[in-house]
Amino acid sequence: MATVRQTDVNRLLDAAQTQVQKNRQRLEKGLDILLAREEPLVGVTPKDVIYSRGTLRLYHYRPMSDEVYRVPVVFVMSLVSKPFILDLTFGQSFVQYMLAQGFDVFMVDWGIPRPEDKRLKLDDYVLDFMPRCFEEVQKATGEKDYSILGYCMGGQLALMHAGLNPGAPIANMVCAATPVDMEGMGLFRHFSDRRWFDVDRLVDAVGNIPPDFMLRSFEMLRPMDRWMSYVRLLDNLWDPVFVYGYRVMYKWTNEQIPFAGEAYRQMIRELMWENKLMKNTLTLDNRRVDTKAITCPVLNVMAEHDHIAPYAATKPLTSLVSSRDTDEVVLKGGHVSLVAGKNAVGRLWPKVAEWLGERSV
């Protein structure tokens, strides 16, 4: 009996000690967050800016091997968020992974639109900025062809670019979480329904769509996510790895950027209301975006539980192109974890590297 008591006491003491230690760590990490101490470093993979124009930057990441695939790959980011989601932090960077796999990696970073950028239209991004960036990639590599990897709206821009330039030397196209059928956009489509959403009045009043407006509209899709993430943080506050991951993601989610006004108007009118990308009737600068003219290999990567670009909106992508070589990957998880979560590290990145590698020689 005495032994039992002694063991029980020891166990209780051990448990108490563990709890004290965890609470000390909770306090320490909690203060780190509250006081914004040791801001997590993001987007730190070494790179050079090889072209800039206004807020646009074209990065060339420094190769990590002395032998790379012949065809360079250009990451095209969405217009609504910062690109460091693709280069989060050490061990969680898609860019770094691709470099380690022997790719020559470039990234189109649209930057943060300034007030004077409110007049930028999709036409400017697709017909002017993108081709200039690809020219620079060609110059930097000495190769004519290039692969495009578009994330979210970046995939839409890639489709538009390819659809407008059937002769463009696009070797491969990877579209990740790219919505094409706006009828599948769920609540987003409902919020922006023309019966109650006056996009003209909004754009005329504010110019660029404020980042806070963008952030709230994303959050409204799953209102409980933010609050539950705080609860989970409290639960795991003792765990430095969890806290670091949380802070990195929190930084990305909350550092929303404005949306260039005219481009936003076009997105709502042409894509959300008229669904022109899906119907293959979209025109930019009076030129038709013919996605059926796309013949390069296409990989469509989708997330099963994506609430921003739902599966129903991303699924038809490969049916829009005429490519004979198309492939689809559906992963569990959501919009962000698709490219930057555990799923991404273990499944998506190797799949993309393998798929592109076979087609990049």
Partner: protein
């Protein structure tokens, strides 16, 4: 006795696991509830009215502030934006000049790219196939 300890730890772990599962389920249910509410036309109309009011107020504020700043001979938001546009045009012209100079330099055989991008790796990599690996 270690068995007792393991059992108790296991029970505590199970309780935490149950709590976490409950949390996930609660989150899912609330999100579904809000999605259902926000998916109604009536919600859309309310949100639309809010956006309309926001746009009207924003526009009135912009105009009011513009008049106020003009009265005190201070630069307005439009003035700053206009300056930004002029700077942007200058940047564009500089970029064009730089590109033209680079083209001229390239034509004359002078290297123009940054030092790092000149460290060009061989572009001969091939994918690792099972055939290659077995060799």
């Amino acid at each position: 006795m270690p068995e007792t300890s393991t059992r108790t730890d296991g029970a505590a772990g199970e309780a935490m696991e149950l709590w976490r599962n409950w949390l996930t389920e609660t989150e899912r249910q609330w999100n579904s509830f809000f999605a259902e509410v926000m998916g109604r036309d009536s919600f859309g109309r309310v949100a639309g009215s809010y956006m309309e009011a926001y746009s009207v107020v924003q526009r009135a504020l912009n105009q009011g502030m513009e008049r106020y700043l003009n009265t005190f001979n201070l630069p307005t938001h439009s003035d700053v934006v206009e300056l930004g546009e002029r700077l942007h045009n200058i940047e564009e012209r500089l970029a064009t000049l730089e590109a033209n100079l680079n083209n001229l330099a390239s034509a004359a055989g002078i290297p123009t790219t940054a030092a790092v991008t000149q460290l060009r790796p061989r572009r001969t990599r091939r994918p690792r196939t099972s055939k290659n690996e077995s060799k």
